[in-house]
Amino acid sequence: MNQKESPSLSRVEVRLAGSGGQGLLLAGLVLAEAAGLHDGREVAMVQSYGPEARGGASKAEVIISDAAIDYPLCSRVDLFLALTQEAADAYSWDLKPGAWTLVDSDLVKHPPTSRALRLPFTAVAREKLKKPMVANVVALGALAEVTGVVSRRGLEKALLARVPPGTEPLNKKALSLGAKMAREYLGQDTSQPQPEAHSEDI
């Protein structure tokens, strides 16, 4: 674990946004448990609560840090995932400049920044796995691969502990597909800007 002079520097704010039912709460839980229980970091998580959690734009927020977490909500988002246009529009107003932004390339036609990584999470889940419902896991795999905020090993352990029995192979495959997709995307386009403010922190 890095020794940082300032506790602010090690703090990473993650927001996973989409529509109620896309599994973003589960994705947030898996991310928080992976980082907190398997990678040994401090974590806090909040989620949309109320009518919006049942449709419309909803979100889960995970704070990952090496220091004890004071403010448990996002205020300057470092990592933003959006699986619908509505969520991308509603929850991108407080992104930190240079924040990692991942969007579903089919469902988000107008990403909040031209630097967004556009990946077909839902299409891949539908076509390669025949299960569009695992788009959230595909996205998690990509997110971990791109940003390194969480270890792949921790993510897999946390994921398999959370998903319904019998779906482990499907979820494992979804995670790998997401990671592969991200690797290929970054490999093609090496000019993809990396957020310099955080690359050293993680």
């Binding site: 602010s8 229980l37 974590v43 806090a44 004071d70 448990p72 909500l73």
Partner: protein, 378 residues
């Protein structure tokens, strides 16, 4: 202290686990947003341990059932939110005057009335103190982290039993639903306090007679001890009285049993307070924003500090006085229009500049908002 393996828990889960660790063996309640998880967990856990869980017809009956269970020797809890808390006020007064130990969890949401059911607020602070009519002492605890939810739930039970009084655990929607990584203490490391039982045979038992502690011993109904319980002011035998020479000592004892322990009851947590020029006095979820503001402000060279109030009532007069003394400014952020800031101003007595920072839009106060406010004040 031995700790269990770290887990990701919600505040409401931690309150339930804290209650169980403290020996809670009765729950009666009526589910309500944002406290429902507590009711749900207790409905699962208590029957599994062979203890009763009852979903009552409403909140009035819920607290009534807790009072009855407690008099029968159970460690009883209920959990509710704003509208349910209002309904419970009548029985809360009954528990105070009859000196019935119990724990009432109120998870604050936007009010009054149905208000903002799924949004956070801190509007019940004065209601927790004065919601039931008549003058009475009150113990109200307020967590800001998931770990504190567990610790304060245990403390609430211990104080209810020790002081023979209802204790209110005042949480809020953000603390209730946020998940944090916590390693709870091992069960054997949790201190549990039980109420004192009579040592005399049933015929000699005088229910409200006290020794130097001012706290009467409570016999469990059903053990052969017969006594009268009433909401009327009563004498040592538990029967109604209007005699000034009995009424006055009754109230004196009711207040005295709590006020003589103020120094123990007034729990606070100081953060970066030593050299602070500006202090936040904060509680519940708002303390999280204040602590973040202190961290960010200090990185910029501002001498900020925070005093978190874990006990809201009795109001922690002495620690707040100390935290205010010699500071340039104190800011009291809260999700209401000034329910604790008025207490801070009362204690401050004009010596330090005290400003309130009230917010009522259904959302948390942010660290940036607090830092901006300080910039404006300068």
């Amino acid at each position: 202290m031995a700790r269990q393996r770290a887990r990701l828990l919600q505040g409401n889960e931690a309150i339930s686990l804290g209650a169980l660790a403290a020996g809670c063996n009765f729950f009666a309640g009526y589910p309500i947003t944002p406290a429902s998880e507590i009711t749900e967990i207790m409905s699962r856990e208590l029957p599994a341990l062979g203890h009763p869980f009852i979903q009552m017809e409403d909140e009035i009956a819920s607290l009534g059932a807790c009072i009855g269970a407690s008099l029968a020797g159970k460690k009883a809890m209920t959990a509710t939110s704003g509208p349910g808390f209002s309904l419970m006020q009548e029985n809360l007064g009954y528990a105070a005057i009859a000196e019935v130990p119990l724990v009432l969890v109120n998870v604050m949401r936007g009010g009054p009335s149905t208000g903002l059911p799924t949004n956070v607020a801190q509007g019940d602070v004065q209601q927790a103190r004065w919601g039931t009519h008549g003058d009475h002492p009150a113990i109200v605890l307020c967590p800001a982290t998931v770990g504190q939810c567990f610790d304060l739930a245990v403390l609430a039970f211990n104080w209810a039993e020790r002081f023979r009084t209802p204790v209110i655990l005042l949480s809020d929607e953000v603390v209730a639903h946020m998940r944090e990584k916590v390693a709870l203490p091992a069960p054997e490391d949790v201190e549990v306090i039980e109420r004192r039982q009579p040592t005399v045979p049933p015929d000699w038992y005088v229910p409200y007679k006290t020794d130097g502690s001012l706290i009467p011993r409570l016999a469990s109904l059903g053990q052969g001890y017969r006594y009268h319980v009433t909401g009327l002011v009563h004498d040592e035998r538990g029967f109604p009285t209007r005699r000034p020479d009995e009424v006055e000592p009754f109230y004196a004892r009711l207040f005295g049993k709590i006020s003589r322990h103020f120094s123990d009851l007034e729990r606070v947590r100081a953060f970066e307070l030593e050299d602070a020029e500006v202090v936040f006095i904060a509680y519940g979820c708002t303390a999280r924003a204040a602590q973040a503001a202190v961290r960010i402000g200090r990185e910029k060279g501002l001498k900020l500090g925070m005093l978190q109030l874990l006990t809201l009532w009795p109001f922690p007069r002495r620690p707040v006085e100390e935290a205010l003394s010699g500071r340039r400014l104190a800011l009291v952020p809260e999700l209401n229009m000034g329910q604790i800031s008025r207490e801070v101003k009362r204690v401050n007595n004009g010596r330090t500049q005290v400003l309130r920072h009230g917010k009522m839009d259904g959302n948390m106060i942010t660290p940036d908002e607090l830092l901006n406010r300080l910039r404006e004040v300068k």
